[in-house]
Subunit: 384 residues, 2 copies
Amino acid sequence: MSSFLFTIAGECGAARSGVFTTPHGEVATPAFMPVGTLATVKALDPSELTAMGATMILANAYHLHLRPGDDLVKEMGGLHRFMRWDGPILTDSGGFQVFSLPTLRKITEEGVEFQSHIDGSRRFFTPETVIRIQQNLGADVMMQFDHVIPGQSEENLARDASERSIRWAARCLGEFERTAAESSGADGQPQALFPIVQGGIHAHLRSEAARTLTDMHDWHGFGIGGLSVGEEKPAMYGILDMIGDHLPRGRPRYLMGVGFPEDIIEAITRGVDLFDCVAPTRMGRNGAAFTRDGRLNIKRAEYRNDPRPLDEACDCAACARFSRAYIRHLFVSDEILGHRLLSLHNVHFLLSLARTARHEISSGNLDAWSLEWLARYHSTSSAQ
Amino acid sequence: MSSFLFTIAGECGAARSGVFTTPHGEVATPAFMPVGTLATVKALDPSELTAMGATMILANAYHLHLRPGDDLVKEMGGLHRFMRWDGPILTDSGGFQVFSLPTLRKITEEGVEFQSHIDGSRRFFTPETVIRIQQNLGADVMMQFDHVIPGQSEENLARDASERSIRWAARCLGEFERTAAESSGADGQPQALFPIVQGGIHAHLRSEAARTLTDMHDWHGFGIGGLSVGEEKPAMYGILDMIGDHLPRGRPRYLMGVGFPEDIIEAITRGVDLFDCVAPTRMGRNGAAFTRDGRLNIKRAEYRNDPRPLDEACDCAACARFSRAYIRHLFVSDEILGHRLLSLHNVHFLLSLARTARHEISSGNLDAWSLEWLARYHSTSSAQ
């Protein structure tokens, strides 16, 4: 029996609630996965993530390969042990990062040559090397190496990148299966490999990619990549509207790099199960907080003596104790605790949002809830 | 009956263990007080301090007067409520900060004129204004405004500053008593005022100051200022050797701005009860950790793959979970969690050191323990 399993618990329109089982534990879906690019969710302690109910987190193969090195992580017992996260972990393959480098890359069918953003050293990523890197890291779920393009790319470029991504998925799978005897993670646990559906904003490329990948192998789950990378929101929602029909119902769907609260809700109603995004911690370090009434910039003078919590309905460890006035003071004074509290609040906000959506799916009330939630979020952002 | 009380539980030579009772709780002494200059112990959450057994913390009147303003802190319910620290707090008067400003100050008998280091605005601190600022902040213990001089200052300067500090102590007391009806802290709790013994490295100035202050009023405790500010260590220890004889036995003695582990031990054996220092958090942010074997610089290459905790005998939340290799990675990558973990470890180290000393005083074994501890700390700093 496989160490990976996805069971659907409830459905509501296209939306699903379920449980994704991994060697390091279960993930109730829909779920937001906090991002720990460099084996740390920025500003937070693993114990805080656990207390907030985070189940699965992300780390990044590109960044960890460069620093501290996937070989070192392996030597230290793998990512779970290194960063002391006992729950499930997913590693992004580095495709997004490599293709986001401003210059210094050469893309061939074999792979991508680039220079490290840290020391300028020349590196070469192929589907095969990226599998080996992720085996060294030992996350529960590895992602294929994919060819990522800007969100508004026209069809020829999108087709080329999508077809290359499909060929690279096959090579990743080949390497994964070739090394099966040794392919369990650094801590001895089995790993799963997810392919990534590309195709830009072109529905027929997306359906073609989804079908080809589905036919290629019985994957444990699917990534949906190349969205929220510059295209218009309706274009993203349009792809999400159609893609589910072309993916097996019984496998989790992971919308990569998304997102903001409104995107998460829109995607859940369209059948997405897993999310990740750096926004909650990045925005948190910049002084922006998610609230039910839109985003709040804590540095604004109006919060100088505001005794209220960031969001009066929030039960996170920041809102339970601290006033906007105090957190504003921390930001104005550039105190680390300010970064901690807003990062914690924002991550909690998205974890809590996914939990609530899960509940609303089970009770069959997702559509009414999501409409009301989105209306409030979009309408009252100046009502703070 | 007073809200402030100091009871001595045990003695061992000049050293004492005791309990300092304040309106916000008891402090078992000897005790290290973590420093929260701007109403936050840098990089740490109050809940972490509580979990580590911190009882009393420090904040700074100079810094909080400038930002966010003591008036705002009062409006928000006082320092305890603002920063969510329910235990005892002591505020330093700002004397040390004002006299440390590199330029832009004019010292008269009336007070000190200076420019804010934040916006350059002109400010004037007097013994009276500093009392009002600290009443707005509402800490349990306020410190008098004192005249601080460099550690090696010659006798005339030291005498001048010490005598001015004594006159300012009288003015602080006058203002404190004049405003008695309204002098309870911002949260309605009574406050205590400690004078500060100055006199540089000149024993007869120190004894004169201690006696004059003792005769002036029945204070709830005494600060010992102007040490660890550039003088040689033997000079500091020499003053500590003699000063206790000139202070009332039944009042806590607070050695301001000290210190490092070795200084804390040396001072405890000489009868000091309370300590504060920014070193554990400042060093923590710079990558230095206290260990029983001396200081460890976590950025060094030798820790790259070191699976051991910072200090194998430490039971802090960092050492209980994380390897040197991981913490080094966090520092090399400039991750906030690195700053958090080393700050937490270092503060825990000093809290724990004071607790152990207290235990050794009770069991009559302080001298043997302190000699052994210091020998190991000084001898093996390269044995990491």
